[in-house]
Symmetry: C2
Subunit: 470 residues, 2 copies
Amino acid sequence: MKAKEFEYLLRNTANGKKDIISRDTDFPQWYQDVIVAADLAENGPAKGSMIIKPYGYAIWENIQQELNMRIKAEGIPNMYFPLFIPESFIHREAEHVEGFAPEVAVVTHAGGKELEEKLIVRPTSETIIYDSFSRWIQSYRDLPLMLNQWANIVRWEMRPRLFLRSTEFLWQEGHTAHATEEEADMTARKMLSMYKDVAEEVLAINVVDGEKSARERFAGAKKTYTLEPMMQDGKALQFATSHNLGDTFSKAFDVRYSAEDGSIKPVWQTSWGMSTRSIGGLIMSHSDDRGLVLPPRIAPLKVVITTVGQPDQLVKKAAASLAEEINESVLVDDRDISPGEKFYSYEKRGVPIRIEIGPRDLEKKEVILVVRDTGDKRVVSISDLDTEIKKELGSMQDRLLKNSKKLQRDNTIECSTEEAAVEAIESGKFAVVDFEVTSEIEDRLKKQSGITVRCYPFNNPGKTILAKAY
Amino acid sequence: MKAKEFEYLLRNTANGKKDIISRDTDFPQWYQDVIVAADLAENGPAKGSMIIKPYGYAIWENIQQELNMRIKAEGIPNMYFPLFIPESFIHREAEHVEGFAPEVAVVTHAGGKELEEKLIVRPTSETIIYDSFSRWIQSYRDLPLMLNQWANIVRWEMRPRLFLRSTEFLWQEGHTAHATEEEADMTARKMLSMYKDVAEEVLAINVVDGEKSARERFAGAKKTYTLEPMMQDGKALQFATSHNLGDTFSKAFDVRYSAEDGSIKPVWQTSWGMSTRSIGGLIMSHSDDRGLVLPPRIAPLKVVITTVGQPDQLVKKAAASLAEEINESVLVDDRDISPGEKFYSYEKRGVPIRIEIGPRDLEKKEVILVVRDTGDKRVVSISDLDTEIKKELGSMQDRLLKNSKKLQRDNTIECSTEEAAVEAIESGKFAVVDFEVTSEIEDRLKKQSGITVRCYPFNNPGKTILAKAY
């Protein structure tokens, strides 16, 4: 069916003009070029801010939908807490304020007056939410309390990069409170599995799941679980995290409940989030030197039908009626512009399938079907088109995940010395080490080589994964 | 089908405890009581801020879905602009800054430093969006440019009230640019019709559509179109607005295009928005002295199945399997608590249909079906249940809209003098006047009686509607 909301692409002449440098030449510049060429986002007027343009936002909407569905299926409803947090709140938990105070934005004036208490623009919402939890939770009957919100977040960034680091980003943050430590830990791990499912099954990104080192933990957490996919340049990207907060915040915010035996106990908590940063990971996982490559399940437009050859009303009509017969979101581009320009504008936007139709194809009741990632081109009979499209979308989805798995497998090396690990990582690999990475080693690696502990992988007990990261 | 995300309602013991005063005794207090009893929202820690709780947020999600679908069907995609607007931007358009400067919140410090240029937390996004439009629009080929965003908005409020006025609220704001003034005006009116469709067909709220007086226009607009439903106390609520911005902003932000003849022209613009304020209107349109009443199309939970009588495993099993057979979102409440407490907890939340099932009903393969707004109770055979539910939901939806239409019709009076209008309005009516309400009269009415021009109604040319308003 026609996706009416993407018809603006046919009018979008002033944007997306950008040559793309090759990945081998300059990977960071390639990343920026792909974003500009696909018209996903651009810098906002205030330093470090980001404008998410319609095509980039449509990807986010699809990610939201997939996550939202899974969160609700866990029995977790959405809600919305205020953007502004009284400054005193973030001082209540010592580690938390140490972690976040340096990067907050502060509202000092409002309504024409200086405020009595300054307001922090939320860098994350544990403090304001758990202040409410302390009133909402009275008895064991209120537990578990599990909530989620979709919100904008502000963290001041010194070295902004589109999607990866910006002063404002979008995310969901889940917050739960439980009667036992075990239930909280199980929940934190379950939510990480949910993210893993979205990463692998929807975004076709292979991820390593594991636990963060003490140094890399969320400020105030007892344990932080993380997903660490490998980007095409061999660096890691922290894709999503889930925290077992222990009773740290419940003690700081006095979130206690009366148990069945009448005793008063602190609750055990978790928080977990996934943000627009994941779009950065998506871009760096699959895209190529022609521009964006999107896994079909997350692509806003699955198919573009392009007319080719001389302007021809019959062909245009046929293209429009074809669009109605395809059970995926389709755009028809019947503009009378050069085929090269037309084709490229969808290639660089990562539309999974391009259909070409011209007068001769129409006569033979055929079209040409082109697949974005492989570039494979073949003739398909119009009567088989919907079936063939479904098949190609499925194969492309599987292929991208397979490629992502292969990338990481081929570029992960077991190392038993610090020197070997540094050497491997400098050549674009993940190093799996079996020696203990003490906090002294961690500090040295970070300072000397920009290398960090990515995680203690669940599937490889006793090992540590080291890498550079975005 | 079971709505898993509402199962928290079965654990929600510490919240929603509130007696509801009657509408006749104290309408404003009744409004607050309904919100607390239905557990929709509460005040946040910073003055004037609001926490939207899961049940209230679920209503907003349904409103979003209905609006979002309609906006996309108009070929308008979503995007996202930054929260922070450089202070200089809002000074570029004189009327706009005059209107909004007094109510903005200002970020002066971020990342541990004082900012070189202060940042305004968006009170609306015309300025930051049109700054981008000036770069994105070059040629007539780029027009129309039509975008929408879902965002949080901050306006400092001195007299906050949940949903109606809070320092932060949620909304969508649409922004369009066109080649001609006619096309812009037509678009502004089309978007108002879209809001009217949502108000009447989804929220069952009868609305008067019309144009605002110069005094009540959006700051910087050439024309503001508005929807003005009547609340149960006879006051108006501005439900949604759509603005023909003329070329005011395009001149201030230099949004110009080269026309087909090569000349350079300013674009013609519109903006339009609907916010969480509409939930306030929804509450005051339909609810009663027992609490919230929700039109079925917007109710998060359409049906609750409550077990009654002695704890009985067979009844509980039957309730669970009934839930699977109903094609609407259903919650099963099989807790062993008093029926009175159980029933009331869904009445005050406005769940449209309650099904009661006990051991004797089960034997007779029957249940009791109770409709929220009328309180009508009847026996329904289990085999007909899904059909009967569908029928009852449809009737209730129609009935609420009919009631809303009747309320407004019965309480709207034609008046030909200012005195008669004031008297009518003081007794809880809308006054339709045929004399010219000059700005002098407008000022006097506002100052002396708190009465404002609600609109010049489209369907009654030459007339003016006066009322008090939320």
